[in-house]
């Protein structure tokens, strides 16, 4: 690799405790068919003081690291940092802690001597506790293992050799396994093969015992085909894919065997180093292992399955300074005194493209693009003609770009991919390229010192978008989380929302945990801060923030939030949650949305006594009328008379409506006595209203009604009563007085009543006196009740123009009536007669003639 001048960061001038990102080119080394890339990720990470670290644990997938220092025996001080060295949590004190490790779910597990494990978040907040065995005397050793669910399990071995296991730290269910021997195993491990139960492997020198959850340990006899029974096995490590185990013997042999111990893929014997005394042993990618001999020496060994027995042993030695190792799925990370270095087992594409011997398409394309860039186009053309499969070359370049650490290299490779697209015959499919660019952008951001998550692309692909965002949230890096969520999500804002909500929750939670009464100013400031942020994201509602505040028991803060909420519905809902019914009611009323008011009214009805809530409602007219409507509807269905409705009206002193209400009751009531009572109440209400006139009428009515009831004529109007009793002159006179009728009414109705009853003599007697209303009513009544023979008598009596006309019309003598009107030149009356004459087609034309001739004159 060509070396370029060192890129400096601005922070170099004033040295900080944090590390710096290092963009020096990676170096590489071949290890048989493997190639290892060494990338310095951060330098100047001096503050770690690795020399004094007694326990070191790094979270897989470039998560945070935890270092334990032991200032005095049996006491640990643990701090959590990002890989770049940024402090997340300082100096947590633990007594009698013996073991420290991270789960895949981003939690730190601290195991104590007595078998109690504490689970902490990446910010050092306590999440839960797992008690492995109350009787456990002393912890001997401990292993964490990955599970299919993305979480980690822990297996703890006590000094008696009993193994206690939980399959998931977040849902700890403890089970035990006890070996048949009294001594402790020389090597052991716990693992969960794909879609199988958790297995425990114990190795006693060269005897292999394995058992899965719920079964007892069995001697694995089928392993004897490869087991070297002359030596002791001292290490066994499961690979990241959980399909192979790397074994190490005391005499320096490394064996790679299948997870069920049935086959041995590869055996390597190392003679240069006494690896049996190593301090750490593990996988580097898929086909290499590392053996850490001391804090200053690491040996990398190729254990590829393609190796034949007898091949030359491929090893590479690397000197380090106080190195601590964390194992990733695609390599290992070395934490040294002043730097963090990543050792990557390179992917096939990366090896191909960056190969200086140029045997692959990707490498040719990369070369061609570089030549093009430098202006040597002919070389570029030469390089590009060699390429056989352009699509493959493009893919290789893209994938290598993703795997690069230095932005410059990433750019070159992406450019190469773009350059290659020009050579393809079809329209290039850029989705892959776009996705790669998007992801590289995210990765570069995450690698910054401020975030300190030097994820490789392969790691990123493993854990996915959501998990990365979750980790950022866990670490409290909200701004980075939002940025990443926006970059990755595009239009989809789901992740952004989640981050915001989490941020609000945490900010509020922080305040509420302090437990002290916040002064209004500080609350105001917090409200300003949160709402200012939320307002940048218009789709996130302030009501959610308010709900969080309520959950954290900060009603004042919730109130501040909710004032900013524009959506009435959530506003009211939150106010109800706050139990501030008054404001809720006011708000609902202001929104003029019946549904909302109903909601509040319901809430009131369920939570308050009737008198209380009716008082509350009565202050808001909009709600009042809704409530009335509710009462009315319920009254209608339940058949309960609207007593409640009345009560409401009385409360409001609405006498007009009270009057009408009583009238309505009277109208629907079938029982005459009740009806009378209702009318009396209406009268009272009218009196309270101060309307003398209505009161007067109702007075008459209530005076008249009792007698009506006595007579059994309660359903009749005064008019009907008179008509019914027309023949009884005395009664009519009495009724007239009672009901305060005028003469005309009495006379008209008497005539009608007599005609109806057929009391023709009495009617005739009545006609003997001069009728003040003329005789047309007599005629009309006779016609109506079909007393045709009697009509003539009264018709003869009719005199005077209006009376005659009316009598004629009543008899349907339209022509006769028309003639009278014509003689008087009374156009108006004649017109009216003409209208009426349409009734009789025979007379109509004649009347029309008369009308026309009058018009002509």
């Amino acid at each position: 690799m060509r070396s370029s001048s060192r890129t400096t960061t601005p922070s170099e001038k004033k040295p900080r405790l944090d590390g710096e990102i290092c963009l020096r080119p990676s170096s590489s080394v071949y290890l048989g068919d493997q190639k290892l890339f060494f990338t310095q990720e951060y330098i100047n990470t001096c503050s770690l003081n690795l020399k004094f670290v007694v326990q070191f644990a790094a979270c897989q997938f470039s998560g945070p690291i935890a270092c334990a220092y032991s200032p005095c025996p049996n006491k640990w001080r643990v701090c959590i940092r990002t890989i770049s060295g940024r402090m997340l949590k300082q100096d947590m004190a633990f007594d009698n802690a013996v073991f420290l490790d991270w789960t895949r779910a981003h939690c730190l597990v601290v195991l104590h001597k007595n078998g109690r494990a504490q689970v902490l978040s990446s910010l050092g907040e306590k999440i839960s506790e797992v008690d492995f065995d109350t009787k456990m005397s002393d912890v001997h050793e401990c292993r964490t293992f990955a599970t299919s669910r993305g979480d980690s399990g822990i297996a703890v071995m006590d000094v008696d050799g009993q193994v206690s296991v939980v399959n998931s730290v977040s849902e700890p269910i403890i089970w035990h396994m006890r070996p048949p021997y009294t001594e402790l195993p020389t090597a052991w491990t716990a693992f969960q093969p794909h879609s199988q139960l958790t297995h425990i492997l114990l190795i006693f020198e060269a005897v292999f015992l394995m058992g899965c959850q719920g079964e007892s340990l069995q001697v694995q006899n089928h392993a004897s085909v490869w087991v070297d029974s002359t030596t002791r096995y001292v290490k066994c490590v499961v690979d990241d894919a959980r399909s192979r185990i790397a074994m190490m013997t005391e005499n320096g042999k490394i064996q790679i065997v299948s997870i069920d111990l049935s086959t041995c893929f590869c055996t390597v014997e190392i003679e240069d180093h006494d690896i049996g005394k190593c301090i750490n042993f593990g996988w580097v990618g898929n086909s290499a292992v590392f053996v850490q001999m001391s804090p200053s020496l690491i040996v990398f060994v190729n254990v590829s399955a393609r190796r034949k027995p007898g091949d030359e042993v491929q090893i590479y030695e690397k000197m380090t300074a106080n190195a601590k190792i964390s194992i990733e799925n695609d390599g290992i990370r070395l934490f040294e005194s002043t730097q963090v270095e990543f050792v990557e087992a390179a992917s096939r594409e990366k090896i191909a493209v960056l190969n200086r011997n140029m045997s692959e398409d990707g490498a040719h394309l990369y070369k061609a693009a570089q030549e093009m860039n430098q202006g040597t186009g002919h070389n570029s053309f030469a390089a590009s003609t060699v390429i056989q499969d352009m699509y493959k070359a493009i893919d290789e370049c893209i994938s290598t770009a993703c795997d690069m650490w230095q932005p410059e290299e990433q750019k070159l490779l992406l450019k190469a991919a773009r350059f290659g697209m020009a050579y393809t015959n079809t329209t290039p499919d850029t989705t892959k390229l776009m996705k790669a660019i998007k992801e590289i952008r995210v990765l570069n951001e995450l690698r910054m010192v401020r975030n300190g998550i030097p994820l490789t692309h392969r790691q990123f692909r493993m854990i996915g978008d959501t998990c990365v965002i979750n980790r950022l949230i866990d670490m409290g890096s909200y701004s980075a989380a939002i940025k990443v969520a926006q970059w990755l999500g595009g239009e989809n804002t789901e992740n952004v929302d989640r981050v915001l909500l989490e941020w609000v929750r945490r900010s509020i939670g922080k305040v509420s945990k302090t437990g002290i009464k916040m002064d209004p100013l500080a609350l105001k400031a917090l409200d300003e801060k949160i709402s200012a942020k939320l307002l940048q994201f218009p789709h996130v509602s302030m009501a959610d923030a308010a709900r969080q505040a309520i959950e954290s028991k900060l009603p004042e803060l919730a109130r501040l939030f909710i004032q900013r909420e524009t959506d009435d519905e959530s506003h009211v809902a939150v106010l109800l949650q706050l139990n501030d019914v008054k404001s809720a009611l006011k708000k609902a009323a202001a929104s003029q949305r019946p549904q909302l008011i109903h909601q509040v009214v319901r809430h009131l009805m369920n939570s308050e006594t009737r008198s209380n809530f009716e008082l509350a409602i009565s202050q808001i007219p909009l709600a009042q009328c809704l409530y009335q409507d509710l009462v009315r509807q319920e009254g209608e269905t339940r058949g309960v008379s609207g007593r409640q409705m009345l009560a409401l009206l009385e409360q409001a002193s609405d006498f007009e409506r009270q009057t009408l209400f009583h009238f309505d009751v009277a109208q629907t009531e079938r029982n005459p006595d009740e009806r009378l009572n209702a009318l009396r109440r209406a009268k009272d209400a009218a009196k309270s209203m101060g309307d003398k006139a209505i009161e007067e009428i109702l007075n008459d009515v209530s005076a008249f009604a009792p007698l009506q009831i006595q007579r059994g004529q309660a359903d009749m109007s005064v008019r009907d009563t008179i008509i019914e009793m027309a023949h009884d002159t005395a009664k009519v006179a009495l009724l007239k007085q009672q009901a305060r009728l005028n003469d005309k009414q009495v006379l008209l109705w008497t005539i009608e009543g007599l005609a109806k009853k057929g009391k023709m003599e009495q009617l005739f007697d009545l006609a003997q006196k001069r009728s003040p209303i003329g005789y047309a009513p007599f005629v009309k009544a006779c016609v109506r009740y079909k007393r045709m023979d009697e009509v003539k008598k009264y018709y003869a009596k009719a005199n005077g123009y209006p009376d005659l006309v009316a009598a004629n019309i009543a008899m349907k003598n339209y022509v006769e009536a028309a003639k009278l009107a014509y003689d008087r030149r009374d156009r108006e009356v004649l017109h009216a007669i003409h209208m009426k004459s349409h009734d009789d087609p025979t007379q109509c034309p004649r009347v029309k003639q008369l009308l026309n001739s009058l018009d002509q004159n």
Binding site: D568, Q592, R593, R602, D629, E656, M835
Partner: protein
């Protein structure tokens, strides 16, 4: 609530397995209260049986191809007697639905301008804006912008002019509604005997006539006296269609004729039906209503609030149909700007005597609604809505023109024979000045640039109901109004019959 009872009854009575769950749809709204009371009813027994409760937001019912209606004739009474403003909110929701249909809901769509006149209209406009800003954005995919070219919505209160519905309508369409009542599916039921002009027959048999054919649409807006003009034109057309010379026709012409034949026959049949209907209505108007109509005219021309009108008295004594009497009293009161206390008292007394206390109840409610007012009333049974001031408006708007023609569709005074409905006049004036000076509500942040330029494409919404005669006038006289919507198509009788209980 009634529908809830029906639902529960149905669930009780349906002979189904008790495990069967129901999907319930409420039209147009599943009221919050309804849901809650469903949950509570019989300890949630019914609620358990329901798989889902949803709503189908169907608000608008088309009326006769002329008008969209909410079919809520109770609205005026609900507002004035019960003080129940939720009905205004329902209007606002329905109108917003209409806006969504025209414009879609996306913020980038064309903004809509709303003009309003009257207290209720202003409230509804405000609610529309509120509802719009608060509802979440559904994705209504296909606005029917192309079909409904609406540039603005004009809201107006019926109660600016409560007088017109009290008067007798005189267009064919209006009269059909007044006399027989037009049903939900645009049909009238008339006694079969009367229709066939027979003396004997089943007196209860009814004939249902659907008012949906082309002939009817041509006739409906005409004044009843002028209907023969249009009808004769239709007849002439039919005759023309029928005149053909069989001898000289080619085969092609024949085939055209054969295709046309059913249409011709149908038209002939329909014109017969409608002519008969018109005849019946004419007879009814001339014989029974002529006195009232004359009375109305006199009251409008001049009236004295100090005296009871003898003819009204006579009708009351004679126990004529209550509604028509009450309408006359109302016209008297509205035209004279309120009745003198003694006159009102007299009317109330005689009505009570002739019809009983329920009629008195109705009068009081009409007072509360402002259909009958007491002159300088002492605050008893006062209507909260401002009075109409007929005497002033009569002059400013020339509501009683000297010259008018019943036979001209474009004449504003034709539908009521010499009286121009105030509502139509106000709308005409608004249209003429391009709604300048009307309270204006913008449903979105910016103005609609097209709205200013194009006077056409106005949609009106009458809160409180519209009569069919007014509908005819607006259709024929105001071509800029392209869509007429209302809370209900009413007649005076419908308005009075829909007065609600407290």
């Amino acid at each position: 609530m009634v529908s809830l009872d029906l639902l529960c009854d149905y669930i009780d009575n349906a002979r189904n397995d008790t495990k069967i769950l129901y999907q319930v749809f409420f039209i147009p709204e599943a009221w919050y209260v309804v849901r809650e009371s469903l949950k509570l009813r019989a300890d949630g027994k019914y609620w358990e049986r329901l798989e889902s409760v949803r709503e189908i937001p169907l608000c608008w019912l088309p009326r006769d191809g002329e008008c969209l209606s909410l079919s809520n004739p109770q609205i005026a009474s609900r507002l004035l007697i019960n003080g129940d403003w939720t009905h205004l909110h329902k209007c606002a929701v329905a109108l917003n639905q209409l806006v969504d249909m025209c414009r879609g809901r996306s913020p980038s769509g064309r903004p809509m301008t709303v003009y309003s006149k009257g207290k209720w209209a202003n409230d509804v406009a405000r609610m529309m804006k509120k509802v719009r800003t608060t509802t979440s954005e559904d994705h209504l995919k296909d606005p029917i912008e192309g079909l409904l070219k609406i540039n603005r919505i004009v809201l107006i209160d019926r109660w600016l002019d409560p007088l017109t519905p009290m008067l007798s309508q005189l267009t064919f369409y209006g009269l059909v509604d007044e006399i027989y009542g037009i049903g939900m599916v645009n049909s009238v039921k008339v006694p079969e005997m009367e229709f066939k002009n027979e003396r004997d027959g089943d007196p209860f048999a009814e004939k249902e006539i659907y008012l949906i054919d082309e002939v009817y649409h041509r006739l409906k807006h005409w004044h009843i006296n002028a209907i023969s003009l249009e009808a004769s034109k239709v007849l002439a057309e039919i005759r023309e269609d029928e005149q053909f010379d069989r001898e000289k026709m080619s085969v092609a012409e024949y085939s055209v004729l054969v295709k046309k034949m059913p249409k011709i026959i149908n038209r002939k049949k329909m014109i017969e039906v409608h002519m008969r209907l018109a005849e019946m209505i004419q007879a009814h108007v001339y014989c029974k209503l002529s006195d009232s109509i004359k009375m109305e005219r006199e009251l409008l021309d001049y009236c004295d609030s100090d005296k009871a009108i003898p003819l009204i008295e006579d009708q009351v004594y004679d126990a004529a149909p209550l509604n028509s009497v009450l309408r006359l009293i109302s016209v008297h009161s509205l035209a004279s700007g309120g009745l003198k206390a003694s006159v009102l008292q007299h009317y109330r007394r005689i009505v009570n005597q002739s019809y009983g206390s329920s009629a008195l109840n109705r009068i009081l409610k009409m007072q509360k609604m402002g259909l009958i007012r007491e002159k300088g009333g002492g605050g008893k049974m006062q209507c909260e809505y401002a009075p109409m001031l007929f005497q002033q408006n009569k002059k400013t708007y020339q509501m009683l023109p000297e010259v008018f023609s019943e036979a001209k569709l474009g004449d504003m005074a034709s539908a009521y024979s010499g009286f121009t409905p105030l509502l139509c006049k106000i709308l005409e004036e608004g249209d003429r000045v391009k709604w300048v000076g009307w309270p204006k509500t913008l449903l979105s942040a910016e103005e609609d640039p097209l709205e200013e330029k194009d006077p056409r494409g106005t949609c009106i919404f009458v809160i409180g109901g519209l009569t069919r005669s007014e509908l005819a006038l607006i259709r024929e006289c105001l071509p800029n109004i392209s869509l007429i919507t209302t809370s209900a198509l009413i007649t005076g009788d419908k308005l009075l019959n829909n007065i609600t209980n407290i």
